[in-house]
């Protein structure tokens, strides 16, 4: 009856099935090979965090030093600074940046004019495609001391006398960093919530209307609960990244004057490692960061599971 290549016998041996579908493994091989070379090999390279790596001796030939680099890092005056900066930036980003896309999605979803909604969507997604370099460039140009548009506007309303010194002010760095990020990604991050809202059963709105619910009540009692699973999953993902503040934007926004609030773990790893050639120390710092990240992800996921909501796995 089954003359094809894949009869539905249940008893067929695994190896036979693997052999019959060898093409699938060929299809997978470039991706698997890439991950092996560029992800798993470097993971083995982590051992240099416990060694005194010198390029001439190679990774395996360099002598073991145990936890010396970690201890050195924990005793550095920089340790508390970069840890504090990293946490400040990411917690600030999470608290300010996480709820806003949800609110935007809820508002967009109850906007009476479809056309207006579309315009807002199209415009608000656009900044997401601007490169980090251009985004930081725009910040530098807009907030430039005497030529910048922000300074001009403030002076016009007599809120400022003389040049604007925000770019070089360490106290302003977290605000600039977080709010420029929100500007760039607010619309984009709302897409996922808007998508979840399209799945809401329209009968629910009708029933609510019959019961005399107004628009705000519909948002609170229908839309918000519909978003809750998505919110939980995204919150887990974001909380898991709490220590991995992106390198690129911070690095570009850094200048000699704002380092006291802008030096974070990833930029410090770059400077110690690539800049000064202290490979082992930089790897140790990076590993410390990865381990905390990984732990955070697992912990937050556990909490979500306990609460009985959706979890990642």
């Amino acid at each position: 009856m089954f003359r094809g290549r894949f009869p539905i016998h249940r008893r067929k041996s695994y190896w036979l099935q693997v052999l019959e579908n060898y093409e699938l493994y060929l299809f997978l091989s470039p991706a698997l090979l890439y991950l092996l070379i560029f992800h798993y090999f470097p993971m083995m390279g982590i051992v240099i965090a416990f060694k005194d790596f010198t390029p001439s001796l190679g990774i395996w030939g360099s002598p073991w030093v145990g936890l010396r680099h970690f201890i050195r890092f924990f005793n550095m005056p920089m340790f508390s600074v970069i840890l504090k900066n990293t946490l400040t930036l990411s917690i600030y980003e999470l608290l300010a940046g996480f709820p806003l896309p949800i609110i935007l999605a809820l508002i967009l979803n109850s906007c009476p004019s479809l056309q207006f909604k579309k315009v807002v969507q199209t415009v608000s997604y656009a900044p997401h495609f601007i490169s980090t370099v251009v985004l930081v460039g725009m910040i530098n140009i807009f907030f430039a001391p005497s030529y910048g548009i922000v300074g001009h506007i403030l002076r016009k309303f007599h809120l400022l006398e003389g040049p604007l010194f925000i770019l070089n002010d360490p106290a302003w760095f977290p605000h600039l960093y977080v709010w420029s990020g929100i500007w760039a990604n607010l619309g984009w991050n709302s897409i996922i919530y808007l998508g979840a809202l399209t799945g809401v059963d329209l009968n629910l709105y009708e029933a609510a209307e019959i019961d005399g619910a107004n628009k705000l009540q519909k948002i609170i009692h229908i839309d918000l609960p519909a978003l809750l699973p998505t919110i939980v999953v995204l919150f887990i993902l974001n909380a898991g990244r709490i220590m991995s503040i992106g390198f690129e934007k911070v690095f570009l926004m850094q200048n000699a004057m704002n380092l006291s609030t802008s030096e974070v773990i990833s930029t410090y790893v770059y400077k110690t490692g690539i800049g000064q050639g202290s490979y082992s120390l930089a790897t140790a710092i990076g590993l410390f960061n990865s381990v905390i990240n990984f732990a955070m992800l697992i912990m937050v996921n556990k909490i979500a599971k306990k609460l009985g909501e959706t979890s990642l796995w």
Binding site: G4, R5, Y14, Q17, N21, E23, L24, F27, L28, P30, A31, L32, Y34, L35, I37, F38, P42, M43, M44, G45, I48, I107, L108, S110, C111, F116, V119, V120, Y125, A126, P127, F129, I130, S131, T132, V133, V134, G137, N140, I141, P145, Y147, I149, I153, W183, L186, I191, I192, G212, N214, K215, L216, V233, G240, E248, N255, G273, T283, N289, S290
Partner: protein, 304 residues
């Protein structure tokens, strides 16, 4: 009955004002997001002196294309442009091919060991060797300074593979392959003559994600490339618009005279023109492809 009518009246009254609040909030949001973009455009076509002295706010003043002329003369920028075009094309081809092939393979239920392979892949999303071990690896492979590294690094994105897998799984039923295989059609032929033609939306999403990523990237170039003529656009942009030169120039201006000032001011507005020139390709095609981007995010958000 009367109470119900009253309740309805109150509700529609509330909803009316609620709608107005929605319009106001969305209007403000729209303005805040659009204004900086709009300002870059009007500043790029205005007179440098007008821009730097703050007279340009809502419309171009003393329209002129001097800034763009200056950009055209900037040779390094165009070399960067060319490099980025080459890197983006090669990277996109490589990345999309690998992603679609892997996504297809993972979507088939005939694949034995799928869970192990998925775990092998997903683990790399959450844990990595970090910058230094990767750098040392690239160095020991002798790839420092070689533009190939720009094309290869990041070409495999596990997240995109999962998107591709989910998409293929949900659009191409397994029965289709079972039927085809009975007629002697293998996976390779099925992939090329059935899966690819049926997945234009998926291919569009993957091409766009890859192209935008590479177009906007500069980090790998900064770390792994060392010759200026190989640098991508974003690295050149970084020199023009991000470096602290602005600040220093402003201070120098107070010391030096008017002649120098004119030239320096033009260099200021040139930045606006540079931003436009560098972001134009993506900002122009983006509205047309918006629905694909959105679709990509939605597929990616499906729970596996």
């Amino acid at each position: 009955m009367v109470i119900k009518e009253g309740k309805k009246m109150k509700r529609s009254h509330f909803d009316f004002w609620f709608d107005i609040v929605i319009y106001i909030v969305l209007g403000i949001t729209l303005f805040i997001i659009a204004y900086p973009l709009y300002f870059v455009i009007i500043a790029s076509v205005s007179d440098p002196i007008e821009v730097t002295s703050g007279r340009v706010m809502f419309y171009p003043v003393k329209f002129g294309l001097d800034s763009y002329k200056k950009v055209l003369e900037y040779k390094e920028l165009w070399i960067g442009y060319r490099n980025t075009l080459i890197y983006t094309t090669c990277y996109t081809l490589l990345s999309v091919t690998i992603t679609l092939m892997a996504g297809y393979a993972l979507s088939r239920k005939e694949l034995i060991g799928k869970n192990i392979i998925m775990a092998y892949m997903v683990f790399t999303m959450f844990f990595s060797g970090g910058l230094i071990p990767t750098y040392l690896l690239v160095r020991s492979l002798g790839l420092i300074g070689n533009p190939v590294v720009i094309i290869i690094l990041g070409s495999v994105n596990v997240y995109n593979i999962i998107i591709a897998r989910t998409f293929i799984q949900s659009t191409i039923p397994n029965e289709l392959f079972e039927a085809a295989s009975m007629d002697g059609c293998g996976h390779t032929r099925f992939f090329f003559s059935v899966v690819l033609p049926l997945s234009p939306a998926l291919i569009a999403v993957m091409v766009l994600f890859a192209a935008v990523t590479q177009w906007n990237s500069w980090f790998n170039a900064m770390i792994y490339l060392n010759r200026k003529e190989l640098m991508p656009l974003q690295m050149i942009l970084r020199d023009i618009i991000v470096s602290q030169a602005t600040f220093l120039r402003e201070m120098a201006m107070d010391v030096l005279g008017e002649d120098f000032a004119r030239e320096a001011l033009l260099a200021e507005t040139m930045k606006y023109a540079v931003i436009i020139v560098a972001s134009l390709p993506i900002l122009v095609i983006y509205p047309f492809l918006q629905k694909y981007f959105v679709k990509g995010i939605m597929i990616g958000s499906l729970k596996q």
